[in-house]
Amino acid sequence: MKAKKNTLLKIYSALIFLFLYAPIAVLIIFSFNESSSTAQLTGFSLTWYEELFRDAATLSALKNTLVLAVLSSLIAGLLGTISAVGIDSIRSKRMRRLTKSVTNIPLMNPDIVTGISMMLLFVFAGRLLGRSGVLGFPTMLIAHITFCLPYVILSVLPKLQQLDPNLAQAAQDLGCTPFQAFIKVVLPAILPGVVTGIMMAFTLSLDDFVVSYFVSGPASQTLPIRIFSMTKKRVTPDMYALSTLLFLAILLLLILINFAQSRNEKKAKRS
């Protein structure tokens, strides 16, 4: 009876994974197709990969995306950690609740509303300053930092709450300045939270389309925006080649992370 139920669940899970991966498999298979047809396989070729690497616009969009993701996740990581320490030291319950609900607004709001609201702000500010065409890389950076911040704060705050407040006090009693106490005692304890937050921010920034779409200018395309404008027309399989490469990069990254984690766990067990 139990075995039968398990087999059913196994078949069920296999079907769901088939559903999740079928479209990705289609992308990968047709990226090697000889013709530009996306329905019939005519033969194996690497034409679309060559095409992709000749496409300067896509490559510069890739560069923009990476620069934006690195900058916004690092700035959000720094600002978020400082903010979390500040929020953690607020004692008034009402003030705390208020700060937390404001922090959560970008998490609750649909992306499209976050995108258009920031676009309106930038356009309005541009008009006040008498400048047109304010949208570009800086506005995108501000928008990305804004939607990344809550994730950093929410992953650092629990670590701070677990920390014994007397530890930092003790460090200060032993002669540390408050800043030294923070660096020597608090930071090592909350570092895992900071790293998780920065990693989440990085992936969110890398993948974001909707918010970037509204706050980017014509000269500052990111990869998702480039993909969007390419999929408006009938696309050629070089987009498929691009997604295959992205998929492989992510797969490799995940396997490496998993590998590092299991090695750490083994190390922890041994010691």
Partner: protein, 277 residues
């Protein structure tokens, strides 16, 4: 000893407060401002009074979003349970497999469905090659719901899995020892203890589904216009920021109301769950 934190430490919250005021609160004020003004900056209600023209679009968006959310929940729940019951290495691999598609650009994943469902796409090519007549799959509401379920399913699986994996097995044993059958175990132990995961899963699928514009553009054609499409058009092609802001304001309020209703019900559930368990 609970000393009052120093002024310097409390000042650390300041950058965040300033940032939030500038880039979270001010943009929302801008939405309200644009919604209630016209091109010359003078007060008007005409943007708001134009909203009823889009009532059908709002209803359709919420209906399709709800449909996608319910289907995702039904698909995700058993899978999350199965994953949480597997051996640890299997669990880790399966969770990785669930997360992997999430990290792939959703535009490309949606686009891939387009090539599968098209009139001369993969499914129809297979159908006609075995002598069957081709089906109309693309540019239907069904295709849009499929796209939503496909894109956001991992967001339903992960939160439900993360609460189920923490479920204390002695609770299930206790329920069985007290004479509970399988249904009792499910309805009195597993379900009440996974409500918080279900609630965050529903939020994470419903909000992006209701407000999407890419999925409906690619898979719904011109027949399925969602509210996201209308808003996107106001900002990117029609250049009517004022109407777009009014529509966004209504969308935001509607989503907040939906969330409030759901939180209300889920709080009730958690309460009864505690009493009966």
């Amino acid at each position: 000893m609970n000393q009052k934190p120093s002024l310097g430490k409390r000042l650390l919250a300041a950058p965040h407060l300033v940032w939030s005021a500038l880039f979270i609160i001010a943009p929302l004020i801008m939405v309200v401002y644009y919604a209630f003004t016209d091109g010359n900056g003078s007060f008007t209600l005409s943007n708001i009074t134009a909203i009823p023209d889009y009532a059908d679009t709002f209803v359709l968006s919420i209906w399709l979003g709800l449909l996608a959310t319910v289907i995702s929940l039904i698909i995700a729940y058993p899978l999350a349970y199965f994953i949480s019951q597997s051996k640890l290495p299997v669990q880790q691999t399966m969770i990785m497999l669930v997360m992997l598609p999430m990290w792939m650009n959703f535009l490309l994943r949606t686009y891939s469905w387009m090539t599968i469902l098209e009139d001369n796409g993969i499914i129809n090519t297979i159908l006609t090659s075995v002598g069957l007549s081709s089906l109309r799959l693309i540019n239907t509401r069904g295709a849009v719901v499929l796209g939503m379920v496909y894109d956001f399913l991992p967001y339903m699986i992960l939160p439900i899995y993360s609460v189920m994996v923490k479920l204390d097995h002695s609770l299930i044993e206790a329920c069985q020892d007290l004479g509970g059958n399988k249904w009792d175990v499910f309805s009195k132990v597993i379900l009440p203890n996974s409500i918080s995961g279900i609630v965050s899963g529903i939020t994470m699928v419903f909000v992006p589904s209701v407000s999407t514009f890419y999925i409906s553009q690619k898979l719904g054609g011109t027949s399925t216009q969602l509210i996201g499409d209308v808003i996107e058009r106001q900002f990117m092609t029609a250049n009517n920021y004022h109407l777009g802001a009014a529509l966004s304001l209504v969308l935001m309020v509607l989503i907040l109301v939906c969330m409030a209703i759901m939180n209300h019900f889920s709080d009730g559930e958690i309460e009864t769950g505690r009493i009966s368990a």
